[in-house]
C-alpha cells in the first residue's frame, strides 16, 4: 500500500531560525495536504497542493509539491514560538489520505 515518509522526525531550533520538513510518497499522489497538530491538540488543515511543481505561500510558510507529485516540503522562515507543534503531510489519492509520522518542531525563545 501507499507509504508516506517524513524527515526529520524532530527538530529543535532557536526562534528566528528557518525550518524545513520533507515528505516522500512511495506512489504518485493526486494531491498532498499539510496539517499542524499543537501539543495536546488535533490536526488542523494548513494547505492542499494539487498541481505538479506547485508552490504556495502562507505568510512565513512555503509549501512545494514536486514535479513527479511524489514529494513535498514545508519551509518556515524565521520561526516563532507559536510555530511549535507537529507538522504532518498527508498524501491523497482519490479514495483516502495517508499520513506521514510527522515532524515535531520545538522553538526556543
Amino acid at each position: 500500500g501507499q507509504q508516506v515518509m517524513q524527515i526529520p522526525q524532530y527538530q529543535h531550533v532557536q526562534e528566528g531560525e528557518d525550518f524545513t520538513t520533507y515528505c516522500n510518497s512511495s506512489t504518485t499522489l493526486s494531491n498532498i495536504q499539510w496539517y499542524k497538530q499543537r501539543p495536546g491538540g488535533h490536526p488542523v488543515f494548513l494547505i492542499q497542493l494539487v498541481k505538479s511543481g506547485e508552490v504556495k505561500k502562507q505568510k512565513r510558510l512555503t509549501f512545494q509539491f514536486g514535479e513527479a507529485k511524489k514529494n513535498s516540503s514545508l519551509h518556515i522562515t524565521a520561526t516563532q514560538t507559536t510555530d511549535v507543534g507537529t507538522y504532518f503531510c498527508a498524501g491523497g489519492d482519490y479514495s483516502t489520505l495517508t499520513f506521514g509520522k510527522g515532524t515535531m518542531l520545538l522553538v526556543s525563545p
Binding site: 494531491n31 496539517y35 504532518f88 479514495s95 483516502t96 489520505l97 499520513f99 510527522g102
Partner: protein
C-alpha cells in the same frame, strides 16, 4: 457553525471490553472518516463512511466496526479491546472524494488497562 464534535473526550476500559465512540460531522459534510493516532505517530486511517455505508477501509481488524446514521453522524465500535488499542481516536469529516481535506474533531483518548 459547529465543527466536528466527538464524545466522550476520555475513556478508560479494560482488556476484553467493548467501546463505542461518537462523532458529529461539520455542518454540510456528508463523509466521516475515523483515524487512530498512537503516541508519537501520525493518524492511521481506520475507515470512511459515506451515505451510511463503509466506503473505504484501512488495515484494521474486524474488531473495529462503524456505522453512519442518516444525519451523517457516526460511531466507531471496538470489540475485545487490547492494550495496543490505547490511542487517540480522531474523527474527521469532509465532502466529496475520500482524499479531500479532513476537518478533525478534538478526538477521544482511549486508555485500555
Amino acid at each position: 457553525d459547529a465543527g466536528v464534535t466527538q464524545s466522550p473526550t476520555h475513556l478508560i476500559k479494560t482488556r476484553g471490553q467493548q467501546v463505542t465512540l461518537r462523532c458529529s460531522p461539520k455542518s454540510g459534510h456528508d463523509t466521516v472518516s475515523w483515524y487512530q493516532q498512537a503516541l508519537g505517530q501520525g493518524p492511521q486511517f481506520i475507515f470512511q463512511y459515506y451515505e451510511e455505508e463503509e466506503r473505504q477501509r484501512g488495515n484494521f481488524p474486524d474488531r473495529f466496526s462503524g456505522h453512519q446514521f442518516p444525519n451523517y453522524s457516526s460511531e466507531l465500535n471496538v470489540n475485545a479491546l487490547l492494550l495496543g488499542d490505547s490511542a487517540l481516536y480522531l474523527c474527521a469529516s469532509s465532502t466529496g472524494q475520500g482524499g479531500d481535506i479532513q476537518y478533525f474533531g478534538a478526538g477521544t483518548r482511549l486508555s485500555v488497562l
